[in-house]
Symmetry: C2
Subunit: 383 residues, 2 copies
């Protein structure tokens, strides 16, 4: 953290924890005997409790979305560009709730937690999760915090899927829904990339069928590979070319040179993979990518997204990024078209950005302006 | 092979072998003490030896491009749709030469061959290869076959790179050059995908630093993963969606169902990876992907492709496919633009096809027509 935090930073934050002792029925048919949720809040709940914003995190995200945990933190939370006093998600006006989802590995109940029935980590025996399980557990947290409705549910990627599911599961509890770089269901190509990530993890001999914690090891090579696949596909070809080009880290390509050649992009990827593999749980990665694959907004509405969205009551903002090929603008336009056909209020912005899918995390002026405008209007309506 | 081979099949073919006992200097500065090349030929060399066509293979290709090796073969060679009597590369008119490149694993000298200095397989000690090393060894084969010049050099992907290099290394020996789904150099994204493939292989504990043959094992899991990454990225998102959609192989997505869900595309990828990992050598895969990464047509022409191509004497046909995102039409247009600026004769066809990079192997009517027209003209000129 900088010695003097910026005026638009939420500054130091302390994660909180809620314990839910009642059994929690999951979409897969199994039950968790109870669970804990770790979360952070930024800003103040107003008097009529009408200004709450729910942040839904993506595949590798967590509760720490803004500010710093300690004075020594080198980096702030993952969405700090967007959350803070005067920022698009303005903590002077909103009470922001950001949690780590169940199945996660940052403090909420997940595969690294102890299974009370066995006294050992859940590991691969943690139940299969669907997007709606997260929505239901977020609903429980909402009740615990005595929040009557969300002024805004907002999220990118897998987070956007949770936002959409919220508008169908609890239509009366969501006033505004912001769905960023998301899709109503994954394509075969997306599923295939997720499958490679899982294969990389499960074929690592240190995976031990998922029981690696009990063996005192982690499938670091497999998880690093999985992350590298994700990382490349969340960037765009243009963005990578602009950033790395064909620059060399070692060796040279002169004829007659025997020095081993390494490109900058290779070295960067290895570093990213290696860092991630020490910070993230492999079973969580498997659970989360499966939930992504399984998500299919309109499946139980006869595969008709118009019929699905006819239940929603929220006002929608949908955002996509031109160079995002994992969750391409076409996917966002499908959401918009279904909302329009269902006669819902929807705004759509396609942001010209070279950052691929990761654009949703990056400060981009037009994206910031679009969010600021939509969220500012919501804040004004709150009075 | 069908009981009665089709009239446009080259039928049964027998691979041949040439042994080169002289030392062979490589671009990396090292020398092979000698080498062997396995190749096939289809059609007859005409009287004035002017109708020879060189087929340059891609990453996972080999010499067996057309016909069948035995009556029991389930499948013909990898480019059988394009090579045969009456086919675009018409063996009634051309004498077609197709070899396995050095460094390969289908019979030519490569990492699985015995290093005469040690009496053990070369393995990871096989010298680093560049595209021009293949061109130089193909030149040696050409001399051995007493072919004065190539009527046509043709290849897709990495094969197209060899074709371009031929036109610069031996301009006077190439009359026509057909460059399909290729590029003058890889992008950072391409290098990154190749890096993941190599990491998958080298992080497999069965890789043993590349000395797996001596340990009596192969890095099957790593090679399968590498292939899966390649396979997905050589297809297009649209093509995969049309072929697999979100169809399930096992389980179901109904709420309350505990059966494990598997999508068709997952099962397909696993099968492809597993099959490939038993048929291909991991060290070859590493060598070939490195040669791809290192290829940079104009590097020693001051990074000026116009200056590079000014040396070429061939007439060019460049072909790309709309849905190919690994070697996108933009990359082919760069080749065409450089050739035009260098005042070379060039035709360009951008083929509308949903098959991604793999389109160059697929029978597509317009692609067949374009090749047939260009190659037919060459045949007519031969008289």
């Amino acid at each position: 953290m900088p010695a003097t935090p910026a005026a638009d930073s939420v500054g130091l934050v302390t994660p909180q924890r809620e314990v839910f002792n009642e059994p929690f029925r999951l979409a897969c048919g199994r039950e968790l005997p109870g669970y804990e949720l770790v979360y952070e809040t930024y800003g103040e709940l107003n008097e009529d409790r009408s200004n709450a914003v729910l942040i839904c995190h993506a595949l590798s995200g967590h509760h720490h979305a803004a500010g710093y945990h300690t004075l020594d933190d080198a980096k702030p939370g993952w969405w700090d560009h967007y959350i803070g006093p005067g920022k698009p998600i303005d903590t002077n006006r909103f009470f922001v709730v950001s949690l780590n989802n169940i199945g996660g590995c940052h403090g909420s109940t997940g595969p690294t937690s102890i299974n009370p029935e066995t006294g050992r980590p859940w590991g691969p025996d943690f139940p299969s999760l669907r997007c709606r399980d997260w929505v239901h557990s977020q609903r429980a947290l909402m009740a615990r915090l005595d929040i009557p409705h969300w002024a805004i549910c907002i999220g990118g990627s897998l987070g956007g899927m949770q936002v959409m599911r919220w508008t169908l599961e609890y239509p009366e509890l969501v006033r505004n829904a912001v769905v960023i770089a998301s899709a109503m269901k994954l394509s075969a190509q997306n599923i295939a990339f997720n499958e490679i990530a899982r294969q990389a993890i499960t074929s690592d001999p240190d995976f031990h069928g998922g029981y690696y914690l009990e063996r005192g090891t982690i499938p670091a090579r497999g998880l690093a590979l999985a992350r590298m696949v994700g990382h490349i596909t969340y960037l765009s070809a243009e963005g990578m070319m602009a950033r790395f080009g064909r620059d060399l880290k070692a060796g040279d390509l002169t004829v007659g040179s025997e020095a081993e050649v390494e490109f900058q992009v290779q070295s960067y990827l290895r570093y990213q993979g290696s860092t991630f593999s020490r910070a993230f749980d492999a079973n969580t990665y498997i659970l989360m990518t499966r939930a992504l694959d399984y998500f299919d907004l309109a499946r139980e509405y006869n595969d008709d997204p118009v019929a699905a969205f006819s239940h929603a009551q929220a006002r929608f903002l949908v955002i996509s990024f031109t160079s995002d090929w994992r969750f391409a603008p076409t996917r966002s336009r499908e959401i918009v078209n279904a909302l329009v056909a269902a006669r819902k209020e929807v705004s759509y912005a396609e942001i010209d950005a070279p950052h691929g899918h990761d654009a949703f995390l990056v400060p981009i002026p037009r994206y910031q302006a679009v969010l600021r405008s939509f969220l500012g209007r919501v804040a004004e309506e709150l009075g």
